[in-house]
């Protein structure tokens, strides 16, 4: 029963959604099913948010209670979750600090703490790219050397000063890099990967719809 019911649901949902793209939504009921099911997914997702809140509270509360390594971070997480969530759940008619409108506690925390922290994390990416590039571009083999040379050319072409330098060598050099490296070799490889991935996704979907693949339920 625990296996059969999900397999039947997966079969019916997959089949209906696959068939619905071949019918016009304004002329048939089956064509309207896809947007309808997406609404259901959103509703189910909303309910499961409670599961997430329970999980984050339990894991961090246990870490704090048992004084595990890094318990201070868990305490900070718990405080952040509740300080951010509780005032936003209270009605704004009680106080302008409640709710999620401009000037509320939630809005203040989001604008002046959350957003800058997210931007900082994103900004750190530049340093990570530098360290990864250093490792990847070391000319240890013929392939790595080709990668190093190609990457150097592309990086030069992408910055105005580098482009000016390339143009001083030959006026058409930046266009040649664009045509042969980016729109040629690079795009061909990317498309190869995309076609393979799309077929893999389609094959896996088919296996799930037909009940051949049940590993996503922990079976098989």
């Amino acid at each position: 029963m625990r296996t059969t019911v999900p397999v039947v649901i997966a079969f019916l949902s997959g089949l209906v959604l696959a068939v619905s793209i071949f019918f016009r939504p304004d002329k048939t009921i089956i064509g309207q099913i896809e947007p309808e099911i997406l609404v259901w997914v959103t509703i189910v997702g909303g309910f499961t948010l409670f599961l997430g809140a329970v999980s984050i509270t339990r894991v961090n509360f246990n870490t704090v209670r048992r004084r595990k390594k890094g318990w201070g971070y868990s305490l900070l997480t718990l405080i952040s979750v509740f300080v951010m969530a509780l005032p936003s759940l209270l009605p704004s008619s009680w106080s302008p600090l409640f709710g999620d409108a401009e000037g509320s506690i939630y809005d203040w925390l989001f604008q002046y703490l959350d957003k800058p922290m997210m931007a900082t994390m994103f900004g750190i990416l530049a340093f990570y790219i530098a360290s990864a590039a250093y490792r990847a571009f070391r000319a240890r083999s013929a392939e790595a050397t080709i990668l190093l040379l190609t990457a150097t050319l592309v990086m030069l072409w992408r910055v105005p000063m580098g482009e000016a330098f390339l143009r001083s060598i030959h006026v058409a050099l930046p266009e040649l890099i664009n045509t042969y490296v980016m729109n040629g070799v690079n795009m061909a490889v990317q498309r190869g990967i995309i076609i393979g991935a799309a077929l893999g996704a389609a094959s896996m979907s088919l296996r799930i719809i037909l009940g051949i693949e049940r590993t996503y339920m922990g079976k098989g």
Binding site: A18, I21, F22, F23, R24, K27, V41, G45, T48, F50, L51, G52, S55, I56, R58, V59, N62, K69, G70, Y73, T77, D114, M117, M118, M121, F122, I124, L125, Y128, I129, S131, A132, A133, R135, A136, Q190, I193, I194, I195, G196, A197, L199, G200, A201, A202, S203, M204, S205, L206, R207, I208, L210, I212, E213, T215, Y216, M217, G218, K219, G220
Partner: protein, 291 residues
């Protein structure tokens, strides 16, 4: 050889016959609307041919025909990575991507998680699975619990193995990075859909000295994983991983069907290249254009 040639030629002939009989008359009608989207008939033909190929190979596999599947080092390395974690007495960190459960990459990742959980259960190695969405949390907990139960290690299962850490992309990343630096997992496995955080996660794992296996179908993130991880599953390998790990002939049949369609696509691309090179490819292009 002749038999293989026939296997390839027959579906191609059927494919083209369908296209000529259906697409051209529809295009000539000038888009007269019916309930059925006739302009998508080429996609329907492709779906039917693709499904037929997958089912045919699955049937052959069921009948006991030996199917060769090439070795995928990244997937073979999963067991080695868990073994290393067991020897070191450190946990295995598994991240099933940063997309919702309705994304096929996440479903593939959850399938792989089931296999990894079986290995960690067998060796009694701690497993950590931080997730970004509550639906993925529910699915992940179910799969991991099932894996531990199947391996007879139900006592080692803990509901907090799969844990929700944050809904925001960078909040999730900073939490997991902190986890990597504090817990120092012996192995990090990144499977599924990743975005800007791919390199942040993989570089931190690299700095923490973990063996790293990544798999994603997003070409824009692959270079980052290749630079920072020990093994990377590219595109279709991610979807093949669960079948490959299961070693079940029935599931391997699906992979062979997929490979067969790839051969057809390569032939179709070559025909297109030749036709376009001689400037007579307009009709051919229209056959594949989907509205």
């Amino acid at each position: 050889m002749l038999k293989n040639f026939k296997i390839i030629l027959i579906p191609i002939t059927v494919f083209f016959l369908f296209l000529f009989l259906t697409v051209e008359p529809v295009l000539a009608q000038g888009g007269e609307e019916s309930a059925f989207r006739l302009e998508r008939i080429n996609a329907l033909v492709f779906v039917l041919v693709f499904s037929a190929a997958v089912l045919l190979y699955t049937r052959w596999a069921k009948q006991g025909k030996t199917l060769f599947v090439r070795k995928i080092p990244g997937i073979d390395a999963v067991e080695e990575a868990v073994g290393r974690a067991t020897e070191m007495g450190k946990p295995v960190l598994f991240i099933p991507g940063l997309q919702e459960l309705d994304d096929i990459e996440t479903i593939a990742a959850i399938s792989i998680l089931g296999r990894v959980a079986k290995i960690t259960a067998q060796y009694e190695t701690p497993l950590l699975v931080p997730v970004r969405y509550p639906l993925v949390l529910a699915a992940g907990q179910e799969v991991v619990e099932q894996a531990y139960t199947e391996m007879g290690k139900r006592d080692f299962y803990n509901r907090d193995i799969v844990r929700y850490v944050a809904g925001e992309q960078m909040a999730f990343t900073s939490t997991v990075n902190g986890m990597m630096m504090r817990e120092r997992p012996a192995a990090n496995i990144f499977m599924g859909a990743f975005f800007a955080e791919a390199l942040l996660l993989a570089e931190t794992g690299n700095a923490a000295g973990s063996i790293q296996i990544a798999g994603t179908a997003r070409p824009e993130q692959l270079p980052f994983f290749i630079a920072a991880c020990d093994y990377t599953l590219m595109g279709e390998e991610l979807y093949a991983a669960s079948s490959y790990l299961s070693k079940e002939p029935l599931m391997l049949g699906g992979l062979k069907g997929q490979d067969f369609i790839k051969v057809i696509i390569i032939i179709l691309i070559l025909i297109g290249v030749i036709l376009v090179s001689f400037d007579v490819g307009d009709w051919y292009y229209k056959l594949f254009k989907m509205a």
